[in-house]
Amino acid sequence: MTDILKVENVTLQFGGVKAITDISFNVKEGEICAVIGPNGAGKSSMLNVINGVYLPQIGTVTYNGVERRSINPRDAAIAGMARTFQNIALFQGMTVLENIMTGRNLFMKSTWLEQGLNIGRARKEEQQNRLAVEKVIKFLQIESIRKTPVSKLPYGLQKRVELGRALVAEPKILLLDEPMAGMNLEEKADMSCFILEINKEQGITTVMIEHDMGVVMDISDHVVVLDYGKKIGDGSPKEVMANQDVIDAYLGVSH
């Protein structure tokens, strides 16, 4: 399989603080790649560099064969990247349905004038895209909350809605930032199933940051371990677990 994503020698710093130092790794098309590491290891920053929220000082990201140092997040979305956020970034003033509908905005070709007059393409698009959204709602089993404002939902369901919003964009690659944080066992199991199904049945490459090692070992094909902004492990879940640096990082051996 080809590499859909290559991160090469990326260094990111805020002011004087280095969040990421010289990190390189590849993600193969169709795999689930887990990025793990202790808090503050630079995992979220890594995702932010990949889809262009942050601009790295050094290094390149090659996505779909195009090498670049920075990308506009919007262009990343157009190129088929979708993501979720560590601290849920749903649009709190909207319902579940509206939130997931925003994920379809790139499919909407009608102008605002047509939409305002509610004529022609606007009506048709609204219907067609609603259908796509409804399929995702069914997939994620959130039919009973489709008209609920997201601000009224418990944390676990919000995470699910956020996944739906990313998924409905029909991405090539999904970047999931701690999709299971703060969930109970049952919710985690559901979420793992969804991620696996998205990956296996829709063939969407998934890069996922996750703390729960059990989940990571279960569902990922490839694990990248970061610690203090540096890469300390890269390989299959088994290889990574056998890596002494990784064990040290997780058991908290002093640096």
């Binding site: 609603r130 259908l131 409804e134 399929k135 709602i137 069914k138 997939f139 089993q141 039919e143 009973s144 489709r146 199933c193 199904e197 296996k200 049945e201």
Partner: protein
Amino acid sequence: MATIPGLVLSNKKSNPNAIALRYKQLGIWNAYTWTEYAAEVSKTIEAFKSNSIGKGSVVGIYGNNVPKLIFSISAIQALGAIVVPIHPESTKEELKKIILSSKADFLIAEDQQQVDTYLGVASECSVKNVIYLDGRGLASYDNSNLTSFDDLISKVSGSNTEIDINSLNDKDTAFYLYDEYEDNLYKVSHEALVNNCKKIIELNTLSAKDSVVSYLPLSIPTNLLFTYVTSMASGMSLNLPESNQTIEKDLQEIGPSILYAPSFVFKHIITSISYRIESATQENYDRYMKHYDSLMKIYDKEIKGETSIIDTLTKTWLMLTTFAPAKNVFGLTNIKHAFVSDGVLSKVNFDFFHAIGVEIQHSFGQAVSCGCISVQPDHSVSSENVGSPMKGTEIKINNNSEVLFKTDCLGDSVSGELNIEDGWVNSGYVGSIEDSGALIVEGRSDDILTLKSGTKFSPEKIENLISCSPFIKSTVVIGSGQDSLSAIIVIDPNSVNSWADRKNIRYTGYSELASKDEVRDLIRDHIKCVNEAFDSELQIKRFVILHRTLIMTEGEVTKTMGILRNKIATNLKDIYSAVENKSDSITLNDIDKLTYQLNVNKVM
């Protein structure tokens, strides 16, 4: 033509453009007219034919009510095969039992959950092929026995052929129905089922203009009769909700005129009303209670026929301001007939529903009797009986108080002999017959408990009375061979939650809530109240509040929330032995392999 596929054709002929089936999917209600319904069935027939389902096959319909499964029923029967409806939440044991005793050679499974359950027992069964509707999660399954329903359909050539029912006979077996209490399978013929249904239609003047919502699986024999067959035989629309989580909303959206449900559902509605009102402001709560009292007073007068004009006006006012909106929220506004099976409603609840104009009609029936042998008429005022025998049915009580019946719509046991005494079928229930001729069912004869003193009684009667509290979800009375009775109480999470919130009681989860002293006192007061209706010997002396609910998938309750005593006695044997030993606390090793500490509380 009294066959199910025949009814499809006759509906197509008489009401070609009327809505036959309406189902919610992807957020909107889609509909099939009888013409489209027939076309779908004939397509399904072709698809099944290509998968070699034919005369003599036995096909399991395994899942929730989704259109494809509904079409499959008629299609299978039109091919001369027999349908076995299987509950989607069936345990492995139950599934195995059904497959083995029905000798099912095909299974139509809804999705991964059903396929997984089946694969767990596949090696012991001889099912030739499993057709699944939803392939989600099944891509990686390597089993040549699995076929996609959609694949089969897509291979069918486009031309629409008429459903061929010439080879069908009215006396052919239509369904194998599973009776959970008996753990037995019964076969019923097209004729028996359809004729039984026509009796209900005639009695209640149902027509094609009515609509019915079916939100329980068709594996429940009474549900099959009152929703699916009723829709077929009368031409009314059958409405299917989107998912189990959206039933309440979907029911409101459709606003059906006919409702069927086992008694636990109506009890659930009462509980919902109660806990919603509990969380209202004090002012609204008081007003509602006041309105409720006046409504019930007027209803009492109505029964006696003593209403004055003022009462009528007051009732109109009460309905307008409180109870019509209350019905609206639960989607009960248009209900003309609400059929209840599997138990009766307590007098309070029964009267309440009648007072607000929801015509509750108790019924009694089992798989062997095609789902119904007796049903209450419209405007019945007795909450205790389950109605008089239907046309062509006779009922009598034998010396052991057991209910015996004769009916012209009788099924037969698949695996064993029917329990027949002198030409009467023994229902396996105990009961009595009122002077009016209406049947009263007290409970299952297997469940009869015998106290140390030798007193025999049906625990269900006590359980029903205790469970009529909105705070109690279910009750199990125990005391076989002992000198006094005890009860295992399962509290209702919703209503007890909002009650606790109202009382400012803090708790983190169900089991902590169940262990609260305040909850114990609440339950104790209720039991005391119920005890007054019984002789000292039949009073509950001690009770245990369970730390969890009874679990259907563990076989502790039936699909209609009936108590399955044997399984409970096994799963909760620690409670039983503690009660026998008269100890005050129980160390319970539960089925989740965890240990819980429970208290045995005394009713003073």
